[in-house]
């Protein structure tokens, strides 16, 4: 898919910070200085508990934040184009055509009074206005076929679909304009386990066939292990850890990642008790001083309470790829030739050095 000479990443997010502004209150820092890159065809997992800023971050990439949400800092570059500098109509041209989104809870994400077919068709019509109605209809049927829905059901309404079908229709809608990037925001919540597996298989297959880059927003580390090339672990709006998927699973360095992994069943050790992290993630309007994870961290020490740790490179050897462009390609997981930087924001990482 990608050639080794790939220079610029498909999507480069740098130091993105998002505040929520409410009158009479200090701004809430929902996302602070998050950076990552995405290569064509690459799958990244965006992981963290609820309220860690995952959805806020993904909405910000499309510039779809609610009115209170402000991007206060950073840059989002798509194919070298700065999205944050675009005028609103230009941004609207980018949406769905180049970067589509699968929303959580397809029941509410589909309009109940419009047929599924015309909801998909209007996206096509929006970005390819010169396509004739029969061509659009043919494309809608093709898309529905791709996700395993009979073309005849295009004329039905969302309430006539089952939960899994609605989610598949949502996926078909996301693929309507053959975007380069699809952001899947918890695509399997509210679905039963069998359907979850179906949907994830479908997404993975489509990704491989169409060469899509996908951002999986999820709190399910199992999903990430199976589908993703690299992982961005978020906690309290900041990057806790960022590395390729093998590194994250085999040698996590941030205590939060370690705790998170312990909270998921490991099939190789059948009797292991599952761990839970006591406490809750911080609210963005009441962030703790120092490290944002310190109130819940099992390895906490004095410095964590006062100093906010910087995002540090865990392995200096691996960070040398900056010269050869960014190396987190879709092949990385399978070939093992190149690995992305392993970054973690923890004082323990610094102590090791």
């Amino acid at each position: 898919m990608t050639t080794p000479t790939t220079s610029a990443p498909l999507l480069a997010v740098r130091d993105l910070s998002i505040d929520f502004i409410t009158p009479d209150r200090p701004p809430a820092h929902a996302v602070s200085r998050v950076s990552f890159t995405l290569q064509p065809g690459e799958a990244m997992g965006l992981v963290g508990e609820s309220g860690c800023g995952k959805t806020t971050l993904s909405l910000a990439l499309l510039r779809l934040l609610p009115p209170q949400g402000r991007i206060v800092n950073g840059s989002v570059q798509f194919n070298g184009r700065e999205l944050l500098a675009l005028a609103e109509p230009e941004m609207a041209d980018i949406r769905w055509r180049h970067m589509a989104m699968i929303f959580q809870g397809a029941m509410n994400a589909l309009n109940p009074v419009v047929t599924v077919g015309s909801q998909i068709g209007e996206a096509i019509h929006r970005h390819y206005p010169f396509m004739s109605p029969p061509e659009v209809a043919a494309r809608v049927a093709e898309l529905l076929d791709m996700v395993g829905i009979l073309g005849a059901r295009a004329d039905q309404y969302p309430h006539q679909y089952s939960g899994g079908m609605r989610q598949r229709a949502m996926i078909a809608m996301a693929l309507a304009c053959s975007p380069e990037i699809v952001i899947a925001d918890e695509p399997t919540t509210a679905l039963d386990v069998m359907i979850q597996a179906q949907i994830l298989d479908l997404l993975d297959n489509l990704r491989r066939h169409l060469g899509l880059a996908v951002i999986f927003v999820t709190h399910d580390l199992g999903v990430v292990a199976e589908l993703c090339d690299k992982v961005l672990v978020m906690y309290g709006g900041v990057t806790a850890e960022y590395a390729d998927v093998d590194t994250i699973y085999n040698s996590p360095r941030h205590p939060y990642t370690q705790e998170l992994l312990k909270a998921f069943p490991d099939l190789s050790k059948p009797q292991a008790a599952l761990n839970s992290i006591p406490g809750y993630p911080p609210r963005p309007d009441a962030l703790p001083t120092g490290c944002r994870f310190h109130p819940r961290c099992p390895l906490v020490f004095d410095r964590c309470r006062t100093d906010q740790p910087a995002l540090l490179s865990v392995s200096p050897v691996w960070s040398s790829q900056q010269s050869s462009g960014y190396a987190g390609t879709a092949n990385s997981k399978r070939s093992g030739e190149v690995r992305p930087t392993h970054l973690a924001s923890c004082h323990l990482v610094e102590n090791d050095k």
Binding site: L62, L64, A92, D93, I94, R95, W96, R97, A100, M101, F103, G105, N108, A109, L110, N111, P112, V113, V114, Q119, E122, A123, R126, H127, Y157, H159, Q160, M173
Partner: protein, 343 residues
Amino acid sequence: MKSLRLIASRLVWAIFTILFVMTLNFVIFRVLPGDPARGGLRDPRLTREAIEAIRVRFGLEKPVINCVQSLNPWEPGPCAVNPFDTQFFIYLRNLAQGELGISYHTNRPVAEMMSQMIWNTILLIGLGQILAIILGMGLGILAAWKARTRLDFGALLFSLLAWSLPTFWLGIILLFWGSNQLGLPIGGRLTPGVDFPNTAAMLKDLGRHLVLPTLTYTIVFLGEYMLIMRSTLIDVLSEDFILTAKAKGLHTFQILKDHALRNAMLPMVTLIAINLGFTVAGAIQIESVFSWPGLGGAVFDAVGQRDYPMLQGAFLLLAVTVILANLAADLVYSWLDPRVRTD
């Protein structure tokens, strides 16, 4: 097929409701005390024969209904009354023939009186409702789209004010202002005693008489439409599928037209149906203030004159309009919302 069955079932329900209302409407005016003959008893100049003649004229000498012991009309009860010669049966027969009885006050058929006045009411209310719906919805959409801005605040304040103004008070104020400052007529439908040379001149005069009552009606109802439109649209705009539509890159206008309004129209349809249903009642205050010769004014007068047949006719018309407006709302609903169509 399914929608056809839905229409049929709604229609049957509407017919049953109308039949029930007809019966209730009959009962109410038999239970209420007083009839013209009794009113006449107080007048010493009326002879017994004259009073009896009045009772016969209005059919009041007949029994209200057949004996309670026998509700079966073919099996006369112990009182042995001809079942077809009761007030209730005559009432039903008259209704079937489009007769609503004779007014106690004017001695003219109620149906004939009402058919003259109803067009005046429809003209006034229809115009006022259409204006109120268009302006109220437009203002509501604008306010919802620009929610929490100065424009929204202004529109909200205006609508709340308009909605809480008493109709008669606003009517009097506008009457005072309009007739003084703009030289508009103070009431009635046409300037009395004028021989209009052509239709255009007559329409012009009619239009001048219509301005103030229509304006009053529009202002009073506009506020309600605006408030409902604004709040439902704000709700709909916060739905997830609006975010989906934005994410698809759709333009503001298209999101509003194709995704938001269709959903937000549902409560509006109900409100419009209710208001249209109460057309007759809603016009009472305005028609009285502006001496508009419509049904509302006539109902107001009939109450004072204890003109039961007139009230009975007006009530029936009111009930039937409410039922039909609800039927229409049901049908529009099923057209707007596919979820209603399929059980």
